[in-house]
Amino acid sequence: MNEILESLQRCVERGKVNIKSPYPPDMKGQDGTDELARKALEAGIAPQDILSKALIVGMQKVGVRFRNKEIFVPDVLMAAKAMAAAMEHLKPFFKSDELKHKGTIVIGTVLGDLHDIGKKLVSMVIEGSGWEVVDLGTDVSPDKFLKAVDEHPGCVVGLSALLTTTMVNMEATVQHIKSKHPAVKVIIGGAPVTEEFAAKIGADYYSPDPQGAVEFLNTRCTPN
């Protein structure tokens, strides 16, 4: 593989954002994803190759390592930040349709629940796998989810809850969405959530980790 793409992939995996970033300490003073993405484009590497051969591969490795408990939340946050720095350079190519997302996922933490970090982590890994993420934030009402589904035809919906007191609001949200859009796939996750609970409330999938959500999206959700 091209040397720049290899470096770019490694920087995503290690969370190396730019040359000024002091993290990781052993890469101090080296180019990060910001510089390498720019250099890759200047070298004439196709944006699609930058995305699929470097960024997505790097983020996928991060997702797998996180699932295997080899790395922790802060490592994923840094990897996502590095990914985002590279994606800034690719934005114009999405606008011009030279690059296309695999699909869209509308994601949010359900009504009554203010927890953000788990949902954000999942969003980052999904985004890093080539999907467009519409993050509705926290404490999201069923109506707000439905409105977002209306605005993004063909999207998948992701619901997060950290509390046992709020996971019950997942059921109301799933029903609300499916009553109008029965074909929309809903994926759920969060600390107290289980596969059994997903089946009970009519959700299509439960994932205990971000990479599981990515694999579900990539294999079982038709891109829009």
Partner: protein, 386 residues
């Protein structure tokens, strides 16, 4: 037969009690109102046969430093009467919000007014606007925030009144209005956990300065606890679990601070339980290395944690008392009493061997069936040590 206090004390000091001590974490006002006709904390324990705990946090202003009790503050659930001064005044105002009770707090100092917003529903409260918005805000806190001390006389008065009835618990002081006992955890409440994590990568010196500000306030409080007749006091909080931070962050930004507090607490004659709701398995030895007397909550995988109780017992059971491990989500609601009893028995078999274990839900609960709570307590009564 041991008194509940003797039973808890035996477990906390790694001895065998007469039977498995069984208790809970906080008894939530929501639960008492919804399920038990608003009875008192003490009545909750008496009615259900659960070994009682009582919580108290009592502050003492240092008048020589111009500190006084906030005349506008009425202590809420688990709160101490707030201590303020003319250079650290706390005012609040209600903000209209159709969904939640919303209150903005202003911390007024001669240099700058810091603000935070707290929201509440019937279950709990949370911060919707962080107090520390600029990095220099920690200098304001360092310079002007009061450093409350423990009201030992009040603690001992209530401890004497509670007597042998159970375990008398306190906390290391959290930040005014809303915070957590651990230094890292308190800082995460004030700045936001995600921002704090990112700051450890981008500006670790600032994070250390921030944690030192938290540490200094807590040191004053802990050093003033000498003679307070607590059975155990709580340190820690959820944001230092392995489901939130990494071992590196724990080693660099949690352990160096909280282990100092634990040592000071021991010097003041206090026992410490370190609270970690969330993942613990990746940090078990690290947590024990801080030398707390006990660890909680040992949240099982079925509740979003990662605890394998038998493995935890094997790895650190000789070094600390273990509190928790019970899955209240699946066995306090929606199951049979037999299933609840079986879950109790499983915890006892996995962590009870040789003592040093207190059966407890993995943190507090909001909803529960009374019959299942009774079965929880009753089965624990049958888990007898020979």
């Amino acid at each position: 037969m041991m008194t509940p206090k003797q039973r808890f004390t035996a477990a906390l000091t790694h001895q065998k009690p007469d039977r498995l001590p069984v208790t809970t974490h906080h008894v939530m006002p929501y639960f008492l109102t919804k399920y038990m006709n608003g009875i008192s904390n003490d009545q909750f324990f008496a009615d259900l046969g659960i070994d009682p705990i009582r919580w108290l946090l009592a502050y003492q202003p240092d008048e020589s430093k111009g500190e006084y009790y906030d005349p506008h503050h009425v202590p809420g659930y688990l709160e101490a009467h707030r201590v303020t001064s003319d250079t650290w005044r706390i005012e609040h105002e209600a903000i209209p919000d159709p969904r939640y009770e919303t209150i903005r707090y202003k911390f007024i100092t001669p240099k700058k007014t810091l603000t935070t917003v707290l929201q509440s529903n019937e279950y709990t409260s949370w911060v919707s606007e962080r107090l520390v918005k600029e990095k220099s805000d920690i200098d304001i806190i360092a310079k002007f925030a009061v450093k409350p001390k423990c009201d030992v006389a009040e603690v001992n008065k209530q401890a004497a009144e509670f007597g042998e009835r159970g375990m008398f618990r306190g906390f290391v002081n959290s930040f005014d209005v809303y915070g957590q006992p651990g230094c890292w955890q308190d800082a995460s409440v004030l700045f936001g956990i995600e921002d704090l994590i990112m700051a450890t990568f981008e500006d670790p010196d600032w994070v250390n300065s921030f944690l030192n500000v938290m540490l200094e306030r807590k040191k004053v409080f802990i050093q003033s606890m000498k003679g307070a007749q607590y059975d155990v006091i709580e340190l820690g909080g959820g944001d230092a679990s392995s489901t939130v931070i990494s071992p590196d962050i724990f080693d660099q930004f949690v352990a160096p601070y909280d282990s100092q507090l634990i040592q000071l607490a021991h010097e003041a004659g206090q026992r410490i339980v370190y609270h970690t709701c969330g993942g613990m398995m990746a940090f078990l030895e690290r947590l024990a290395d801080m030398k707390p007397d006990a660890l909680e909550t040992f949240t099982p995988e079925s509740m979003g944690g990662d605890t394998i109780l038998a493995e935890a017992k094997e790895r650190i059971g000789e070094r600390v008392c273990m509190i928790g491990g019970f899955d209240q989500f699946h066995y306090f609601k929606g199951c049979t009493t037999e299933e609840t009893r079986k879950a109790v028995r499983k915890c006892f078999e996995e962590a009870g061997s040789g003592g040093g274990y207190i059966l407890c839900p993995s943190d507090h609960f909001f909803d529960a069936d009374i019959e299942l709570l009774k079965a929880f307590a009753d089965e624990a009564h049958k888990c007898v040590y020979q």
